[in-house]
Symmetry: C2
Subunit: 70 residues, 2 copies
DNA sequence: ATTGAATGTAAAATATATTTGACATTATGG
DNA sequence: CCATAATGTCAAATATATTTTACATTCAAT
């Protein structure tokens, strides 16, 4: 899976560390790190919580138009 | 937990049964049923697959219908 | 009234998301 | 430099998403 640079960038725009964001949404730092690195398939509730904390929507941070262009 | 009526309606609009949708996205009928009934916290990958099958986006089908915690 | 498709539900098992604890590396400021 | 925050990574444990199997109900058309 690709890195989630949109998430990383939105987090940076709010001046939050991975740890800050993790605490805000109630998960561990490792989970946020893994999501940004793209190793992960998080739950929709976690994605939604992250979006709300960062003032973004699911489409903003988690929608990929690019899968399987054919 | 709130039912996902937007999903149910989008599926109906494509004339797909829960079983049809489940097969299209590679999960079981029970999983699709549970998501529509709102018992569930599916993964983002599954939500994305459902959206693509139904010609909708994450915001269309999964934004703001369950605000509940883990 | 009966058949069959679609849906709702549930318990136990499996797969995987997430945690815990730890250590390494890369910034960044003092 | 030195210290410390921030990030990357990993193995083992726990929590939970999903499957499997099974049965009940609803509803549309015989």
């Amino acid at each position: 899976m690709a890195k989630n640079l949109k998430l990383k960038s939105a987090r940076a725009a709010m001046d939050l560390s991975q740890k800050d964001l993790a605490e805000a949404v109630g998960v561990t730092r490792q989970t946020v790190n893994a999501i940004e690195l793209g190793d992960y398939n998080p739950t929709i509730k976690l994605c939604t919580a992250i979006c709300k904390t960062l003032g973004k929507t699911l489409n903003d941070l988690f929608w990929e138009d690019d899968i399987n262009a054919n």
